[in-house]
């Protein structure tokens, strides 16, 4: 009796924290027990997937030519020294860009690639790679 009561308590707390439907009551007690262990995050595959998702996104990279073109436009806008390193990982802020520079860069990219970038999206571009990926996405839609 006690063990059943114990299982039902953990089931309730489990379902309330995950907003599961009452379908879970049909799952065998043994599987419930294994899932209702203290929620440390480790047994939650969804969380882990989220963490990798951004890496996943970046690895579907833009074409090298696109990336090169973006680097060139960034160099021009920020008047960087010829030996300054600019690659996909370069963040605009780290290259000395302020918000006006970022907007100018986006405008330069729009003109170069014949695309249109929403202002909210433009503000979320943090790195050269972000810009290149966005360009590829917009070009695909055309």
């Amino acid at each position: 009796m006690a063990s059943i009561a114990g299982a039902s308590i953990s089931m309730t707390s489990f379902s309330s924290s995950l907003k599961l439907t009452t379908q879970t009551s049909s799952i065998g007690i043994s599987s419930l027990r294994s899932v209702s262990l203290p929620i440390s995050g480790r047994s939650f595959p969804s969380l882990r997937l989220k963490k990798d998702a951004s890496r996943f996104r970046v690895s579907c990279a833009a074409k090298p030519e696109t990336l090169d073109k973006v680097c060139e436009i960034v160099r021009n806008q920020l008047a960087l020294a010829p030996d300054a390193v600019v690659n996909g990982e370069s963040k605009f802020v780290a290259l000395g860009a302020d918000s006006l520079d970022t907007v100018e860069i986006v405008m330069g990219l729009e003109e170069e690639f014949g695309i249109s970038v929403e202002e909210e999206t433009a503000q979320s571009i943090v790195s050269v790679q972000d810009a290149a990926d966005l360009i590829e996405k917009l070009l695909e839609k055309k």
Binding site: L95, E104, M107, E119, Q123
Partner: protein, 326 residues
């Protein structure tokens, strides 16, 4: 040890303290009283004036481990110095107000609000209410500035007057500014004046969005118009204060004309002959809608721990827009 930078003035004189407080090597920060309602304190540092390596090291010592990491992750000496000075300016400026006994710039903790706007975390002891100090920083390559208010949201932006715009100004305005603003810029025939007006508009719009503190998506540039009504410029003496009325600056939201855009007040300045600075602050709640109340401004050029120079009332601070009381 050093007198606090109180606004000492005699009637009919311009209210500026030409005090240059030069601290010795035992560096303390000159304490300052909090701004009163509808007052902004504006602090700025010119990176080119900060050359001493030992001073820069001293600033580095003020930063949190994460801030240090961010500074050192910047590529190149110039960018590192700029990032360092920005953090040092914020910490030392807020420390001057000695809130809750916080005198050490190192002890301040910061966080970002849900929209990403930086705020101070006040470690309140039981029973103490949270102080209402608001701040905002801005940097261009040659100036770093920090605006401070009590009880009023604030946003600031500084830009070099001569800053090059790579794109065509009108094309830029057509793309990013409101129709009204673009038309205003189009009506200016002199390209240099047009360039200057563009930069001024940019700083005002930036300052507004930063004051709102809700991120750029809350107020995309195209969705609001900043209007500068240039009536005749005049300055007059009101009691012992010097009031500049350069023009009226208003903001209007295009999506929601009835929104509380009238609760925001602007000031536009020319700083050190080289920069435009825009300040946007929330009007005090006690002020009735439609009442014209000037922004009281006190400005300091500073090298923290070394020198503070009160510059409001000098040529270094020229009001060029808004209703400003110095």
């Amino acid at each position: 040890m050093f007198p606090s930078l109180l606004r000492a003035y005699s009637p009919m004189k311009m209210r500026c303290c030409f005090q240059r407080s030069i601290c010795s090597a035992s560096s303390s920060l000159v304490p300052v009283q909090l701004p009163s309602p509808m007052e902004t304190h504006f602090w700025y540092v010119l990176p080119d004036q900060v050359k001493s390596v030992s001073l820069l090291n001293q600033y580095m010592g003020l930063l949190s481990p994460i801030e240090k990491e961010n500074v050192l992750s910047m590529p190149g000496h110039q960018l590192q110095k700029r990032a360092l000075l920005a953090r040092a300016l914020v910490r030392t400026t807020i420390a001057r107000y000695q809130i809750n006994g916080h005198v050490d710039p190192r002890s301040l903790k910061f966080k970002k609000n849900i929209h990403g706007k930086p705020e101070v975390v006040w470690q309140s002891e039981d029973g103490w209410c949270q102080p209402h100090l608001h701040f905002n920083i801005s940097h261009s390559s040659s100036m770093i500035a920090c605006g401070v208010t009590s009880n009023s949201r604030i946003g600031i932006d500084v830009e070099e007057k001569q800053r090059k715009i790579k794109n065509n100004v009108l094309a830029f305005a057509r793309r990013y500014f409101s129709l009204h603003e673009m038309e205003y810029l189009s009506s200016i025939s002199d390209s240099e004046v047009q360039h200057q007006e563009f930069i001024k508009l940019w700083t005002l719009k930036e300052a507004y969005v930063k004051a709102l503190g809700k991120g750029f998506s809350a107020a995309p540039f195209k969705t609001f118009t900043v209007q500068v009504k240039t009536d005749s410029k005049r300055s007059f003496v009101l009691a012992e204060d010097l009031v500049f009325e350069a023009s009226e600056i208003m903001v209007e939201s295009l999506n929601d004309p009835k929104s509380l855009t009238s609760s925001w007040q602007f000031a536009l300045l020319e700083l050190a002959g080289s920069h435009y600075a825009a300040i946007c602050m929330e009007k005090d709640k006690s002020i009735k809608v439609g009442m014209k109340v000037p922004v009281r401004l006190t400005a300091w050029k500073t090298i923290p721990f070394v020198e503070d120079e009160c510059v409001s009332g000098t040529d270094a601070v020229m009001p060029i827009g808004g209703l400003i009381k110095l």
